[in-house]
Symmetry: C2
Subunit: 425 residues, 2 copies
């Protein structure tokens, strides 16, 4: 049989068995596996059904690692939805770049094999779990806002024009332009499909049928989403994670690790910030669906609200601190000779941060809306079994998102009462 | 003697003599030179001292062409200001692309030699002159607004996301990211130097010394310019000409030809539109300096004002017409399934165009300011011999620019009275 085009390019999909041979033949993987490749390995596939295959590899010698492989299609849809394997290259590049900027919150990449679309990286060991699951279980993470504000401030500031020369910036922009297939996937599922009749859209039917139809018929909403969609494609403000929802974050009460930046590209900072905040707001509105006799979730809801507020407030504080600290380095956007008094610089920073805040609220709302009436829903709501109860949580989240998207330019601070308001409805 | 690095790359600077041998050895140049390369040639260098060398080549056999060569520095400053020769590649690429979109107003490229940084193109024959010179002479061009609105609408619309898929768009963006040296030159001379003490800044001294200092101390202005500078670098909205002032346009009363897009890159559309409109406003304010007994220039000023207004109004009309005509093609920014009524699409277009209008006013003002207090001045003012008269014209232009830059978001239409107001001061 003739070799397929993929095989000719040196690619073959792995499974638990063939991965063993791959590992044994890859010296770069010896170190994390306890220094030797000859000890027996235990391998388990844990990719939770999204885009890729993820294997946890444990060696009898005590070492461990995770292997992630991209196949030329979207796992959860199947090979009817092809998707470039090059996403693995951008994921590896972004992990390495973001880890250099924020080592505390990004796992180490041990090995990258472009032909095989394969990344070997740190196994983020138990008790780490996916943040979304922790939020559903009602676990408080006292350091989450601190850690995530750190991650966002560093990755965004240090890959923006506030820190880099235009020359370096445009080099990065050009490199990540090639991750366009992933950008187009986002465009479709976040900025387009929810606002039209689309094959893969779904909602908690029949309860939300009218709400979904209302989204498709809301002219004001559609005008706002058009602006955000253009900004998403056109504005190369920083190297984004590109998929920073609560399913891309692994946590313990002490540790926060950001994974899965395969959608990385140069885009508007507010898209990352909004993804994180928007998914926290979704978690917030899902809590009533998880309340039971033992736990009414009221105090947990307060913790989520506080985490949302702290995340933004700490982010802006840290972001401006980085700006002040590095204002005399390479960044060409605000030259010290022009912004030559602390008063003027501070005005410039306030203007910048305010506009970033409004972008974040816009993108955050868009991310919320698409999780309720688009293709990919979130476990926060999906795990609420009673559909009428689920629908009522979703509706409040949807209404909140719509109100924020339309009214965000009036928001002066994250303590704005929109989320709380919707709650009183 | 060892060959220089440049020679090794196949580059050598030409002059009137060596250009003859170059042409004789280049079959692609035979056709425009009347079909033969053996007829005697007359060659004249006409580069008007800006960045590059431009030769007009006339053949005894009746043909003609223009040869433009980029040297590895800025001609008007000298080799103390190095500048990549690759600008010729981007100029040739943009000329070809824009000519494909708007053949009536862009000259044909016959030949491009990347190693030599050399473009062979149509000789835009007399009586064509540079528009700026026509404006100084007080010549009316009845078709100018129609032609330039055509050029801007077509080049901008057809290289934007309103017409192209994101995939094609990002390919273009990545390609032109490499023209970053030219972008940085703009950043410096347009968005930075005028707002700080900079080596090459100059103004009509001592008359405008205080005005120039006031620009450097105007916090509101500096906040506005920061926003425009970031947008200039970050926002890849369309393939711009990048230097669309009245010195990049050659005209007769019947014909309008746009040359010199060596600063081409994917940037905000308003930068091109603003360059054109801003330079017309400069021409307007310079007229009093050219008035004499024979001609008080009052009716010419009215014509310039009308041309400014017509240019914008025709541009927006044509741009929206192109949008309507091509709304069902490849553009992904406004899917017909979402913007699914002519009423909604029209709202979206109004919003888009309004924001483009404000961008254009912002960039146009920035281009005006830099011509009065920055490094590169315009002949419109420079040719006014009496410095106090020149300074008074420049001051009114500067004040007008500052007012527009700060107040542009309140402008509902180009008929806004700002330019006229400043006139009454
Ligand atoms: N480095 C890691 N350490 C531990 N578990 C991981 C690691 N990377 C991924 N996982 C697990 O695999 C799942 C899927 O990984 P992810 O990178 O999100 O893949 P996908 O791109 O398919 O969404 C995660 O939800 C997490 O449970
Ligand atoms: N195709 C052409 N036909 C006729 N004259 C031209 C042509 N191109 C340039 N010129 C003349 O040469 C001058 C300089 O050309 P330009 O392309 O603006 O060079 P630069 O990049 O140095 O500004 C123009 O002002 C114009 O007078
Ligand atoms: Mg999300
Ligand atoms: Mg994932
Ligand atoms: Mg993923
Ligand atoms: Mg020129
Ligand atoms: Mg030029």
């Amino acid at each position: 049989m003739a070799a397929s085009a993929e095989e000719q390019q040196g690619f073959h999909p792995l499974d638990e068995v063939s991965l063993v041979s791959y590992i044994k033949a890859t010296p770069a993987l010896a170190a994390p596996l306890g220094g030797r490749l000859d000890a027996p390995l235990t391998i388990k596939e844990v990719g939770d059904g999204n885009l890729n295959f993820v294997y946890i590899v444990l060696s009898d010698s005590g070492g461990s690692l995770v292997v992630k492989q991209a196949l030329p299609y979207i796992r959860c849809v199947g090979d009817s939805w092809p998707m470039t394997r090059e996403r693995a290259y951008f994921e590896a590049s972004a992990l390495q770049k973001h880890r250099a900027l924020c080592p505390d919150h990004v796992p180490e990449v041990y090995h990258f094999d472009r032909a095989m679309s394969l990344i070997g990286m740190r196994y983020i060991e138990p008790p780490h779990i996916i943040l979304r699951k922790g939020l559903i279980a009602g676990v408080e993470y006292p350091l989450l806002a601190d850690h995530m504000s750190d991650y966002m401030a560093k990755t965004l500031f240090f890959t923006s024009l506030l820190y880099n020369s235009t020359t370096d910036h445009k080099k990065g922009v050009a490199q990540y332009c090639d991750n366009v297939e992933m950008c187009r996937l986002t465009e479709q599922v976040v900025f387009s499909d929810p606002y039209m009749l689309a094959k893969y859209n779904r909602c908690t039917s029949p309860f939300l049928d009218n709400d979904a139809a209302a989204v498709r018929e809301d002219a004001e909403l559609k005008l706002e989403i058009a602006e955000l969609k253009s900004m998403f494609i056109e504005r190369a403000q920083a190297l984004l994670h590109g998929d920073l929802h609560t399913g891309s974050i692994m946590v313990t009460t002490d540790s926060t690790q950001v994974i899965d930046p395969e959608f990385a590209f140069y885009g508007p900072m507010g898209y990352d910030i909004g993804a994180f905040l928007g998914n926290l707001i979704l978690a917030y509105f899902s809590q009533d669906g998880h309340a039971d006799q033992a736990n009414d979730r009221q105090s947990y809801k307060k913790w989520i609200l506080k985490t949302i507020e702290d995340s933004w407030n700490l982010f802006q504080k840290k972001f401006v601190e980085l700006w002040n600290k590095h204002k005399d380095v390479n960044g060409e956007a605000y030259l010290p000779a022009i912004y030559n008094s602390s008063e003027l610089l501070s005005l410039a920073q306030k203007k910048y941060v305010k506009s970033l805040f409004h972008d974040s609220l816009g993108f955050g709302s868009a991310k919320m809306i698409r999780r309720i009436v688009g293709i990919a829903h979130v476990e926060d709501f999906e795990s609420i079994e009673d559909p009428s109860k689920r629908a009522s949580c979703e509706r409040r989240a949807l209404n909140c998102a719509k109100a924020i998207l339309k009214g965000r330019r009036q928001f002066e601070s994250i303590e704005h009462k929109s989320v709380r308001d919707e709650e009183d409805v």
